[in-house]
């Protein structure tokens, strides 16, 4: 219509905002990571990688993601298919499944703290069942495995919802006729799931997995609430470098490292789960 400038006018605030608060700080992070006292250097990365905690944090973060994400994927698929077959109470079930979506990671950590703490509900339950006679320290510095399990459970509990919602929305896009056709041709429910749902759901699976993996690398508050310093992870270490150790440049290097593996995995899943344009619904 009149004035080709209108769309640009409407986009200007958002664009300016993203430039100032997204692109610019990103450039700053990159700059700080590669400089120290005004000169270009890779020292920050050397310091980062040289820290005894670094391999542990990398291992913990990756291991946590590797355990959590596949379980979440299966659970999200289960939730999504279950809900789609439900005749009554569908929206109630969906709402309940989606609740953790609105809960912060810190709150999720605290919720599971109520269960795993020494005076938590798990100890009471176990003693009621007669398994133990005095409370066990699940989250002590010696019990790394139970901390890991508690964090993993809290993460699974908290962040399955986001995958479920994406998958439910994706399943809604698959026309019913495909299932009916498959049924007519004699496909069992399981076969229909494997042959129809999964392939047609691939774009949604792709976004769900990418989003989830990136969020898994950012795990922070859940660990802080449950494990404290006993289960160091990447984001927690970054926070440490920034505040406890007061070294901005190494913190920036950490940030860049997290960014690098995030982008690496994004590209990986974009490639592996790629759907050719002509094969989309």
């Amino acid at each position: 219509m009149h004035g080709k400038a209108l769309p640009y006018l409407l986009l200007t605030p958002a664009t300016l905002f993203l430039c100032v608060f997204f692109l610019f700080p990103f450039a700053l992070v990159a700059f700080e990571a590669f400089t120290r006292d005004g000169g270009f250097t890779l020292d920050n990365f050397r310091t980062m990688a040289g820290s005894w905690k670094f391999p542990v944090t990398v291992r913990n973060t990756l291991l946590l993601s590797a355990v959590v994400v596949p379980i979440q994927l299966v659970m999200a698929l289960l939730m999504a298919t279950m809900v789609s077959r439900l005749e009554t109470g569908r929206s109630a079930a969906l709402y309940i499944f989606a609740i953790p979506l609105g809960i912060s990671d810190l709150a999720a950590g605290l919720i599971w703290l109520a269960i795993f703490d020494q005076s938590g509900f798990l100890n009471t339950l176990l003693s009621n069942l007669g398994v133990i006679d005095r409370p066990v320290m699940f989250l002590g510095y010696q019990s790394k495995l139970t901390i890991f399990i508690a964090v993993a459970l809290a993460e699974i509990w908290r962040a399955t919802a986001i995958m479920m919602v994406i998958l439910v929305a994706g399943m809604g896009l698959i026309p019913r006729e495909y299932y009916e056709a498959a049924e007519v041709f004699g496909a069992s429910p399981w076969k229909r799931f494997i042959k129809i749902t999964l392939p047609l759901l691939r774009p949604s699976l792709q976004t769900a997995i990418i989003l989830r993996v990136i969020l898994a690398f950012e795990v922070f508050a859940v660990v802080a609430a449950l494990g404290g310093t006993n289960l160091p992870v990447l984001m927690g270490e970054t926070y440490n470098w920034q505040f406890t150790l007061q070294d901005r440049n190494v913190a920036a290097a950490m940030a860049l490292f997290i960014l690098a593996i995030s982008i690496g995995f994004t590209l990986f899943f974009l490639r592996v789960l790629r759907v050719p344009k002509e094969a989309r619904i």
Binding site: P13, F22, P25, M79, L101, A114, W157, L173, T207, G228
Partner: protein
Amino acid sequence: MSTVAELSIAAPEARKAGNWLLVATVILLCVWVLLPIYLLIVNALSSPEEVTAFPKRFFPSFDFGSLSFFINFAGVARALWNSVLVATLTMLLSIGFGAPAGYALSRFEFPGKETFRFLVLMTRAFPLPLLALPLAVMFIRTGLDDTAIGLALVHTTLALPFAVLITFSLFSGIPVELEEAAWTLGCTRLQAFRKIILPLALPGIAASAVFAFTISWNEVFAAAVLTIENRTLTAFLLQSLGESPLYLKFAGGAALVIPALIFIFAVRKYLFAMWGIANR
């Protein structure tokens, strides 16, 4: 012949069993989601002594000792207020910047449109809270450090892409013809937007505003990095994790969770449409 008869009898039986299994699994999954929240609330509604006692009761005693301790604890009221303030600012900023962009994307074809979309989608591959680190320095220089607006700006980078994509799909769902009809009936572009598009999009915009509010309300890392005196509730709780007593943590956790439950309930109708679309 007999196998057919058997099958036709067996089928409804099997179907019934399958249904039971389905319902049982759904209920189990609901319990999995709800039980931990319930337990947190039990703790929040118990006296400080009961929280640390062993063995514990699985039902709340409705003693408000923990909660009143929490509310009266130094800094809590202020942190709550800061959380609300930052989240409100984030909501206003992300809708104020995002909705015009969403409208532009839904109604115009113009050079640069794809570049903008790419910029928005790119934010998703980034661990955005990390950007708070360099901004902390920038904010000190500009006097935005430790202010609600400073943190709200960072939270807006998280919420803005969603606001853009959600409002884009909202506006796309309203036929252009309605707007054109309004123009032919004597409206200017602005009048047509106000009289036709806005009333139709308002519930959705409100839902995405609530969504932006929730994103900010829940954010921990950037909040902890950027605030010192003016801590939000999440930052406050994170700071005091080490030293504060258990009952304070649980009461704080409940204070975080309850509003979130209400938010999610308020936007439940839009949850799937918004997430489904925003993440495609």
